[in-house]
């Protein structure tokens, strides 16, 4: 769901950077020494996830995993995704540097929303809650990013309804796969290292 260079107008690119800057600042405030390894790992996971593609209809889409990162990191997902997206732009020409602010916001903000909605579910012991939380996080994070992209593409003259419909349809398999991935990883973490799933103060 990376938007390429040269698609969006300048004012939108600047606003993206401004919004991302706020998110990153908040994220860095919440970051502390003990959480750096998890943050680094999730950044690597996100970085590599975009290479795992899912053929869908006319083209192909890729895994994002912002839901997983969000539900574990909260606001810290902003600097984590910024690093991942920056490297993807520089090394794979995936997305772009002028549009880095917009792309980061698109993927990080819904992830934070997923955090607030799904984190409480992780505190419960029952596996059913973790399952629900996993799928919910995947859906909120991915479709949320999709709606943001559709909204931004409005500025290029694309119809919001058409684009949003297309994005949602294309990413249903991705959301399903990520729901499953989230479930297994969160289950594993809850069993082996539950402190990672604690809420950040």
């Amino acid at each position: 769901m990376h938007i390429s260079e040269g698609v969006l107008p300048g004012w939108l690119l600047a606003s993206g950077y401004a919004a991302t800057a706020c998110g990153v600042a908040l994220g860095l405030k919440k970051l502390d020494h003990s959480r750096i390894p998890v943050a680094g790992l999730l950044s690597a996971v996100f970085f590599v996830a975009s290479l795992v593609h899912v053929p869908v209809g006319v083209g192909s889409v890729h895994l994002i995993l912002n839901g997983l990162a969000g539900i574990i990191l909260g606001w810290i997902v902003f600097p984590v995704l910024l690093v991942g997206l920056f490297l993807q732009a520089v090394l794979f020409q995936f997305g772009g540097l002028t549009v880095l602010g917009v792309n980061t916001f698109n993927m990080a903000f819904p992830a934070v929303i997923a955090y607030y909605i799904c984190k409480p579910l992780l505190k419960k012991q029952s596996k059913a809650y973790i399952l629900i939380g996993s799928f919910l996080a995947a859906i909120i994070a991915i479709m949320g990013a999709g709606f943001l992209v559709a909204g931004e593409l409005l500025a290029t003259g694309e119809s919001f309804k058409e684009t949003a419909k297309l994005i949602v349809l294309l990413h249903i398999p991705v959301a399903a796969i990520e729901g499953v991935i989230n479930f297994f990883i969160l289950l594993f973490l809850k069993r082996v290292a539950p402190e990672i799933l604690e809420e950040w103060k």
Partner: protein
């Protein structure tokens, strides 16, 4: 804690290594023959861009024509005159690729009309036994032969350009290295902060 991280890493390494297809920007490649330009557009995992919108601009920035790629990611157009042209391909969801073709890439294919005007004057010499080919005909033959010889080389170049634009393991590993470095650096900074 370390065990958890290591296991997560292993899981991820296996998932990603098992999917050797790399996603997700689009690229556009141009092939020129005479005054005909063929546009090939692909996602970086090789999937062709189907029904992508194509816009062609001349060197003054004017939009001279629009079109759509077919189901193989191909679009063909002819140019009115040799010039520096810019081709922009737009796929859905904000994917965009730009390719350029230079004036020099267009081989001039002059019509052999000049041949006819020579006929009357040269009638005498054409009765010679040694069949002489007019210069223009010779040029045409050479051009056609060259085109045939160069076509496979052309295709190979396109293939190389396509490979260059796709993602390689090298890039992935360097990216992971950078992430390690950045977060390692952050750990250092935070450790110093905590120390004080």
């Amino acid at each position: 804690m370390k065990k958890v991280l290591f296991n997560l890493f292993l899981f991820w390494a296996s998932v990603f290594l098992s999917s050797l297809a790399f996603a997700h920007k689009i690229s556009a490649f141009l092939d020129v023959e005479g005054n005909k330009v063929t546009v090939y557009s692909y996602f970086s995992d090789g999937t062709p861009v189907k029904k992508g919108q194509v816009e062609v601009y001349d060197s003054t920035g004017k939009l001279i024509l629009k079109g759509q790629t077919d189901l193989n990611g191909k679009f063909v157009f002819t140019v009115p005159k040799p010039d520096n042209y810019k081709v922009v391909v737009n796929a859905e969801l904000g994917h965009r690729a730009v390719a350029e073709v230079k004036k020099e890439d267009f081989t001039g294919e002059e019509e052999q009309i000049a041949e006819k005007s020579e006929e009357p004057g040269k009638k005498q010499e054409q009765l010679d036994v040694t069949a002489s080919i007019s210069e223009n005909k010779l040029r045409q033959i050479v051009r056609e032969e060259l085109k045939r010889e160069l076509k496979p080389i052309h295709q190979e170049l396109l293939g190389i350009k396509k490979e260059l634009s796709s993602v390689s393991f090298k890039d992935v590993f360097s990216g992971l290295g950078w992430i390690l470095g950045i977060f390692g650096g952050a750990a250092l900074v935070y450790a110093r902060k905590n120390g004080k």
